[in-house]
């Protein structure tokens, strides 16, 4: 069942709050992980793993480095859901 952009964003916010301690309401689509949210590559791996549990979408390490903003992850999850 495909999720809406908002549902993915909310889910991602919960994950990022849990992993990196960033309040969920600060997780808006325009934010860059490294520059705006101060999230490094190790936390990105944790976020990817949690996203796999929550959205059923796998994000391998070599894809992860291309996901720079929250919107990038939302788009990735939506694309993966559509093609699943």
């Amino acid at each position: 069942m495909a999720m809406t952009e908002q549902e993915i964003q909310t889910g991602l916010g919960e994950i990022i709050d849990e992993v990196a301690g960033v309040p969920a309401d600060e997780v808006t689509p325009d934010k860059s992980f490294v520059d705006d949210l101060d999230i490094d590559s190790l936390s990105m791996v944790e976020i990817a793993v949690a996203a796999q549990d929550k959205f059923g979408v796998e994000i391998p390490d070599d894809e992860l480095k291309n996901l720079k903003t929250v919107q990038d992850v939302i788009d990735y999850v939506r694309r993966a859901e559509v093609s699943a």
Binding site: D40, S41, L42, V45, E46, V49
Partner: protein
């Protein structure tokens, strides 16, 4: 043929830890490789680590830690009938470390063997020591984790030279004495994944430790908490009743990520890596020895141990603090 009586269970009488004197700080490292104190602290959690001096051996460190544990145990060398040294960095393959350690500690003719399960070594060794005591194969076991990782590190490789360090930790394992005493070492849960052998390895005798950090991080932060929880379940110990969680001190971020998934918010999470670095099989007993010394865990407390590393190999058990 018959079997021996053995005992109802095993318990730990004492721990002992040893760190070499030479301190290597993040600043020292930043002077020789492209890294910084800030980067190391945030990615790995280490502030300083200890390195053995060039002529200080794994045996030396094992003897130091083992001697401390023995002295604290109230037993004498004559009481020990099995010595197990968990190490993946012995100076030579033949003879083993354990027999030499026993001799230097004045322990006469014990069973003696080395055990290589990399950073899971201490938990594996503790599991086998507990089994030996229960089966009656041994009365009192000296279990030691000792490593000189610095001799296998490429000091120009900033991904590994900031992490690995030297040290030793030991425990004395003995039978429970009263018929109704609960065991002090719970059942071990162990396993491996040879498919991931290429994630942490040394290619040959003339090579260095190579590690795929990202892959190890991903694996450790997903595959290990079920193992840890199974160890609690097999010991009949609720995670919510743990006083502490002492995993192998691989990387503080890994330690914290696994801890978050245990359902044990009250448990103190070992962070010995901050002033010890990653000492492979020494990291768990060294952390325990220091936590006890500082009064951070008390006699009778339930503590969850989780070793994991190259192999991939892993092992976990719950123990009671002596």
């Amino acid at each position: 043929m018959r079997l021996t009586e053995g005992s109802q269970g095993a318990r730990i009488l004492a721990f002992g830890g040893y760190q070499p004197a030479n301190v290597l700080t993040n600043e020292d490292l930043a002077a020789t490789v492209d890294t910084s104190d800030e980067w190391i602290r945030s990615r790995v959690g280490i502030e300083s680590r200890r390195l053995a001096s060039p002529d200080e051996t794994v045996t030396d460190m094992a003897v130091a830690a083992g001697g401390k544990a023995l002295a604290a145990s109230g037993l004498s060398a004559a009481d020990i009938d099995l010595v197990i040294v968990a190490t993946c960095t012995p100076e030579v393959m033949i003879p083993n470390t354990a027999a030499g350690v026993a001799t230097r500690l004045g322990i006469t003719a014990p069973g003696a063997y080395d055990l290589n399960a990399a950073c899971a070594g201490f938990c594996y060794a503790l599991g086998t020591a507990s089994d030996a005591v229960r089966a009656g194969s041994a009365q009192n076991v000296l279990v030691i984790g000792a490593e000189k990782l610095s001799q296998w590190v490429d000091w120009t490789d900033r991904s590994t030279c900031i992490i690995f360090a030297d040290g030793a930790g030991a425990a004395v394992v003995s039978p429970v004495t009263e018929p109704d005493d609960a065991p002090g070492v719970g059942p071990v849960v162990w396993g491996s994944d040879g498919n991931m052998a290429d994630k942490i390895y040394i290619a040959d005798r003339n090579s260095f430790i190579h590690q795929e950090g990202q892959a190890v991080f991903r694996w450790a932060t997903t595959a290990l908490h079920p193992v840890a929880l199974r160890a609690c379940e097999r010991a009949g110990v609720e995670p919510a009743s743990l006083a502490a969680f002492v995993p192998h001190q691989a990387n503080l971020r890994i330690v914290e990520a696994i801890a978050r998934k245990l359902g044990a918010p009250q448990a103190r999470v070992a962070d010995d890596i901050v002033h010890a670095g990653n000492t492979s099989s020494a990291s768990i007993p060294l952390a325990l020895a220091r936590m006890i010394e500082r009064g951070e865990i008390a006699s009778g407390d339930a503590v969850l141990l989780l070793g994991f590393g190259a192999g991939i190999s892993y092992a976990a058990q719950v123990i009671k603090v002596p």
